[in-house]
């Protein structure tokens, strides 16, 4: 496996560019800037750091995926001058062949994979997408649909010279029904902008994630994104009411209903949700938005042990019930890292574990009463040794930052091995402690944090540098451990390019076989996002 080669190069990139993570956090910065227009007097807030990440530091270029990994180009056609002329007819002025623009679209957010596509297309309408795909189907040209390019598994950029089909210009809201809260929009709308749009009308988007300033709703649906509101509003599989998809041969599949209930035949949209662009290109989304909560509270608690964390979770569910909207946890190492690398102040006494609880409801008094009751109970029974409540927006932001910026802090610590697994919540921390024992002093930190409320652990291991032996100690140990718990080796990030071969740890051969049959049915030529999601069909 050429995996170790890839990772060795990543070390060079990580080390040579100490500030590179800052660019990635401009996504978070855009959130901050949008909310606080008069920034002049807020200087000491740690979040002021986010907004200062506007300059792109000089970053050495990323190694081509085709050179790092042992992957062979499939026999698709190459893009010719005639193809470019045809595209120019379909979308005049929006066929990009400029190398600088392409460079950005060829590299992923984590700067870990890079393709060599020579063409970037920016359609505005579904009709244009249909014409493009029809042409590519006739000519046997591979296509890589691309939204905000914020995925973490290398699924959003080409592996070779696949044509990049960007939804960047498909950013129109089609309709919004302000009684039902049903939003219909094109796939290229940025999540944060949609959030602002519906917020002005008294609703919120049912999902929220760190990349909201850049990710497109089409991409969110294609990856079945989770995020921090998952606990409260559920999966996109429930909130997406309809999709408009263009299939590999250019057929437009209009399933864009705005109906809550429609049991007429097989639910085709479920096939495309989470399909990572391999079964069709999503061009429009109809999504149900929940009403905007009038009262949001955030409590940050310190717990003496993981058993207490679980009990706090049960207590939360019991006492906060329907107002609970987020339950995240992090361990002491995470807190130490955000303090060391990002200088974020620890708001409570030092504890082995920290929990962030968010409530959202329609009555501030009612919620505060429930929250007070819960906090008294938790403190009184010793489940929580210390805690604080965000009294105003800036404190709320600061408390969320402690959780949201862990990824950033980790990248400053050294080379990061990243895992995102779903395992039974009682065994969450066992994986972290097992790994610590197993890896010993070879690594700097083994940390666990994540959406405890959803059973989703983000496991990260930092080391001074990449090492093949370290990788061998981690994989497939982490995957087999997860499989032993009947867990998922990719809880919310998806498979993309980097995890397509480990799908077997969480799905039976029969299941994978059926996935291949569906792929063959919908995309017989394999033109849509090749080399991704499913392992090579033998």
């Amino acid at each position: 496996m050429v995996l170790h080669q890839m990772l060795r190069w990543s070390v060079w990139i990580f080390r040579a560019s100490p500030g590179w993570w800052r660019t990635t956090y401009t996504f978070g910065a855009s959130v901050g800037q949008q909310r606080w227009p008069s920034f002049a007097w807020v200087m000491s807030s740690p979040l002021a750091f986010r907004s200062s990440y506007s300059t792109v530091p000089h970053i050495p270029s990323v190694m081509l995926t085709s050179e790092r990994y042992s992957v062979q180009r499939l026999p698709f056609s190459m893009v010719s001058e005639e193809d470019l002329a045809s595209f120019e007819c379909i979308i005049p002025g929006r066929v990009i062949t400029d190398p600088e623009e392409l460079e950005v679209a060829n590299v992923d957010w984590l700067r870990s994979v890079r393709g060599c596509s020579k063409v970037l297309l920016k359609p505005r309408t579904t009709e244009e997408v249909s014409c493009i795909l029809r042409h590519c189907h006739q000519r046997n040209l591979a296509v890589n649909p691309q939204g905000g390019n914020t995925g973490l598994v290398g699924g959003s950029v080409p592996v070779f010279d696949e044509i990049i089909l960007s939804t960047a210009l498909m950013n129109q809201v089609i309709s919004f029904h302000d009684v039902s809260g049903i939003l219909v929009c094109q796939a290229g709308c940025v999540l944060e902008e949609l959030n602002h749009y519906v917020q002005d009308r008294g609703f919120i988007m049912p999902l929220d994630l760190g990349a909201k300033g850049s990710c497109h709703i089409g991409g969110n649906v294609a990856t079945n994104a989770g995020g921090v509101r998952f606990l409260r509003y559920g999966s996109l599989r429930g909130t997406v009411l309809g999709l408009e998809v263009v299939l590999a041969d250019g057929t437009v599949l209009d399933c864009l209903t705005s109906l809550r209930k429609d049991n007429t035949g097989y639910d085709l949209k479920q096939l495309f949700i989470g399909s990572e662009g391999t079964l069709g290109v999503i061009t429009a989304v109809s999504i149900l938005c929940p009403p905007r909560p009038k009262a949001v509270n955030v409590a940050f608690l310190g717990c003496p042990g993981f058993a207490e964390v679980l009990q706090v979770f049960s207590t939360c569910k019991g006492m906060l019930g329907e107002i609970l909207s987020a339950f995240e946890f992090m361990d002491a190492e995470c807190m130490q890292l955000v303090g060391q690398h990002l200088h974020l102040t620890r708001p409570v006494r030092e504890s082995p574990f920290y929990v962030l609880v968010e409530t959202s409801g329609s009555s501030a008094d009612h919620d505060m009463e429930k929250l007070d009751g819960f906090l008294e109970q938790a403190l009184g029974s010793g489940l929580v040794t210390d805690g604080t409540v965000g009294t105003d927006q800036s404190k709320v932001q600061a408390l969320w930052a402690l959780r949201e910026r862990i990824t950033e802090a980790l990248s400053h610590d050294g080379y990061v091995f990243k895992y995102d697994v779903s395992i039974p919540v009682e065994r969450f921390y066992d994986l972290v402690t097992d790994l610590r024992t197993r890896l010993g002093p070879r690594v700097k930190h083994v940390v666990g944090y994540g959406h405890l409320g959803d059973g989703n652990l983000h496991l990260n291991v930092t080391a001074e540098a990449f090492s093949a032996s370290l990788l061998a100690a981690l994989e497939p140990y982490v995957y087999t451990w997860t499989a032993a718990q009947q867990g998922s080796v990719s809880a919310e990030h998806g498979l993309g390019f980097k995890k397509k071969d480990v799908l077997g740890y969480s799905k039976t051969p029969a299941a994978v076989q059926l996935m291949w049959q569906l792929k063959a049915l919908l995309d017989p030529r394999g033109l849509l996002n090749p080399y991704k999601t499913l392992p090579a069909h033998l």
Binding site: P347, V348, D386, S394
Partner: protein, 255 residues
């Protein structure tokens, strides 16, 4: 060690992160159902008082707020940060809208005398009206020295050394106590109120009184004529080259 008593004034304002909307009748901004919290500069003032108490320089901290019943939440926050007791000067909501720095200063001056405090701490200005007057007026009414825009406060015997942020740089004053100090941004970073303190704060005493009981005249000679949105920013115009730029500038009469 001096055993001083401090009065900290806190104001309940619309949370700074909230998008402000002007009421359709242009009489003010929408406050119903909008998130309110303690004015950030007042928070810094409370934090300074608590730090002085931790250094055993201040014996008792009294948190004061003027306004409708919701102000008690703001006082509770101050209590959770470390204030000892609170005073809520109750002003009905309608009157509270007309209440300005002069009225509040009158109240604070009366309370400072009644409670025999040595130090009155306030935020430099409120983020809703940006008046930056209450501290100065209070000092004037009490005839006490004032150190405004404080970025550092130190007690030296019976005098207060205040470092102020002014346009030209930093100015250091030595004030005789009793004095009024208003807090600027860099004075300190307010602490998080910890859970045990939040619980304790519920049991701390908050006295409710009316402005009339203090014998304070709450009348105002000012009326708000109208409140409007600032003019919409007009989109910029992109030009291709310098000839176009010159032509456009001539067009709008700039050259």
């Amino acid at each position: 060690m001096a055993e001083l008593r401090a009065l900290v004034a806190v104001k309940r304002v619309i949370d700074f992160a909230v998008k402000i909307r002007v009421k359709p009748d242009k009489t003010g901004v929408v406050t119903d159902g909008v998130k309110h919290s303690m004015n950030p500069f007042c928070e810094i003032a409370v934090e300074e008082a608590v730090r002085l108490k931790e250094k055993k320089l201040v014996k008792e901290i009294i948190a004061v707020s003027c306004g409708p019943v919701q102000c008690q939440e703001t006082i509770r926050t101050a209590l959770a940060m470390g204030a000892d007791r609170g005073i809520h000067v109750e002003v009905p909501a309608a009157e509270a809208e007309r209440m300005g720095p002069l009225q509040v200063a009158r109240v604070l001056a009366k309370l400072a005398e009644r409670e025999k405090v040595d130090l009155v701490l306030l935020g430099k200005q409120a983020i809703d009206d940006d008046c930056n007057q209450t501290g100065q007026m209070t000092a004037g009414l009490l005839d006490w020295p004032q150190g405004t825009f404080a970025s550092q406060v130190t007690l030296e015997g019976d005098k207060l050394k205040v470092e102020r942020e002014i346009d030209g740089g930093l100015e250091t004053l030595r004030l005789k106590l009793p004095a009024v100090v208003t807090a600027d941004l860099r004075l300190n970073e307010p602490r998080y109120a910890t859970l045990p303190n939040i619980m304790k704060a519920k049991k701390k005493k908050v006295e409710v009184i009316k402005a009339g009981d203090l014998g304070v005249d709450m009348s105002s000679k000012l009326t708000v004529v109208s409140v409007e949105d600032p003019p919409q920013r007009v989109a910029g115009v992109k030009v291709e080259n310098t000839e176009d730029l010159v032509a456009k500038l001539k067009e709008i009469g700039r050259i």
